[in-house]
Amino acid sequence: MTTDYTSMWQELGLDLAGHDALLNVLGTAYTDIYLSQKNRPEGMGYFDFVMSEVHGLRIKELMDEKAAGRKIIGSYCVFVPEEIVLAANATLVGLCSGADFAMEKVEQLLPRNTCALIKSSFGFKIGKVCPYLESADMIVGENTCDGKKKAYETLGTLVDNLYVMDLPQTKTDQTRDLLKAEYMKFKTAVEELTGVAVTPESLKSAIDVVNAKRAAIHRLSALRKADPAPISGLDALLANQVFFYDNPARFTESVNKICDELETRIQEKTGAFPAGAPRILVSGCPQAVPNWKLHMIVETAGAVIVGEESCVGERGTRNLTADTGTTVDEMMDAIVDRYFQVDCAIFTPNPQRLDHIQEMVTAYNAQGVIHYGLQFCQPYLMESIPVEKALEEKNIPCLRVETDYGMEDAGQLKTRVEAFIEQLR
């Protein structure tokens, strides 16, 4: 990092020693995993920069926004509508964390057998190492899986600005109304926080901003259909991760720029991997920064990941919000309709997710699916078995992986992934 941000981190109340340690690990991992890749598109320079400044420049920007009277809202789930946040003049950042931190302290508050995602979010809070968390004026929790909803009860004692949103678990007209009511309540809460009322104009423009960001990611995803794949799964995963905390307009512009480059690469048949490399779809639990473990293992073994059926990926970004409404209420309906389609495994039943996986296999020409489950994640691990069965009935090989953020199982995982790739060749 070029600029010294120490005083900013100090003001945010970060634990400087712990934070240094985290940045160190992050920097080393990024160099080893990302910068060592061959045949990367030049446009990835943008993401390299974003990552190098993830706790620096981006936080500085958020602090500047705050100084100018804007509020920052942190969220842990794709069910928190960015449209509403933007329309009320606040900025949304994703908080879900992808690394173990302060685990001994976390395990004094949470059972050991809790998924790594939840533990990590607590570790970042207890260890005081996440500037996004510390700069947030409101933190939104949501009642999704049992782990999360119970964990928020405890998180509420660690932070004074937690807002918990309820979510349905089934999809009927009645539960759609529930979601609408929750989103209306959330809108009011955000309006109260910012002191800015959502208007038809502000909501319309927020919908446009978020749709543009999603459309850019759709364009990037579509380009991954080419063989040779013009971009590695690791790089595409990074774009999907940065989606959650970069400035939306800049993100959209930068992704579109990379897409221009990828289109040229496709024409010239320049790939991140050789043509004919085995193509794999990853499906399952969200992979938050800096959780690059599975992608790294797969791609260093010679296969290319061509899509993520994940909340950090297509499950989270696939649909646009219809821009049909003219009143706030009509637009809120459009927002509810859009989010109600997210096929998270906390829903029961959840057949749309299975359909979506199969559609993605076909669309991206994947030869196999790796189902990614975080250890102790009931919803996704439970769904992994029916997913595997359904895929195998269609002769699509599937490997179920159950792991966490630690590296103790890396050797075993590598063997399984390599054997799976041998199976596809």
Binding site: E402, E408, T415
Partner: protein, 258 residues
């Protein structure tokens, strides 16, 4: 490396956690030489010593130490799963299911009729259900590993062992000994619990036909008998079950000659 005869020789080396195996075949797949050695603390030195004993033209590495070997010798590698599948299928071409229980891993593999891997299951990170588990339990009971299976087989009944975790099972065994239970029956119970787990893995990949049982644990007669009884399927044991991976790797080295 050059050969001293005109025929081309292909080697396969399987660097396992307990033992390193080396097999050399000719271009028709016939085994010319075979060696085995304890892995020890320094796998690469052991591997070096083994390959110094033979001459070959091409070598393929498998086993958990394959990547280390790849770095030192610039040799191609293949996973244990594919290697065992190939070794087992070559000896029993009608086989569609392979169970391999090695030192630290166990896996069940189903095959297409071409010998290609169709699906596999592998134990997770702990030693439950592997050779290591049996080894530790034999030691706890004071049996030589070589006689462990025969002793278990001689028992009249099973003493149920409820834990598969090596650490918990060990204390369970200790308290059974303290209670004065029969050592053979405890041994038998331990074998049964490993088989229960192996059978679960097999059932997830295939439901009928003969099973080729490879890896060091296949030499244990009690394991073989219990497995056959539990699944009611025919069990086939390669002439040297521990060599299946190295043999498969050698065959794959030969195939990759082009």
């Amino acid at each position: 490396m050059s050969s001293d005869t005109t025929a081309v020789r292909y080697a396969g080396i399987d660097i396992g956690s307990r033992t390193i195996k080396l097999v050399v075949v000719d271009s028709s797949g016939k085994i010319l030489e075979r060696f085995q050695s304890d892995t020890g603390f320094d796998p690469m030195t052991t591997a070096n010593a083994l390959i110094a004993k033979v001459s070959f033209d091409k070598i393929m590495a498998t086993g958990y130490g394959r990547n280390l070997f790849e770095l030192s010798f610039d040799a191609p590698t293949v996973t244990e799963i594919k290697a065992h599948a190939r070794g087992a299928w070559t000896e029993f071409p009608d086989a569609r299911t392979v169970l391999d229980i090695g030192g630290q891993d166990s896996k069940a593999i189903s095959l297409f009729d071409t010998g290609k891997v169709k699906k596999f299951e592998m134990n997770d990170r702990c030693a439950a259900g592997t050779g290591k588990f049996l080894e530790i339990m034999a030691a706890t009971l004071g049996f030589e590993l070589a006689e462990f299976g025969a002793q278990a087989l001689a028992a009249e009944k099973d003493l149920l062992i409820s834990s598969m975790c090596t650490v918990f099972a060990e204390s369970e065994v200790t308290s059974l000994i303290a209670r004065g239970e029969d050592r053979k029956e405890i041994a038998r119970g331990l074998h049964t619990s490993v088989i229960r787990r192996a059978a679960g893995m097999i059932n997830r990949v295939s439901s009928d036909g003969p099973i080729v049982f490879t890896g060091g644990v296949a030499k244990n007669p009690c394991m073989v008998q219990l497995l056959a009884g539990r699944l009611d399927r025919e069990i086939r044991i390669p002439s040297d079950p521990q060599l299946a991976g190295a043999y498969g790797a050698a065959l794959l080295a030969a195939e990759a000659r082009a």
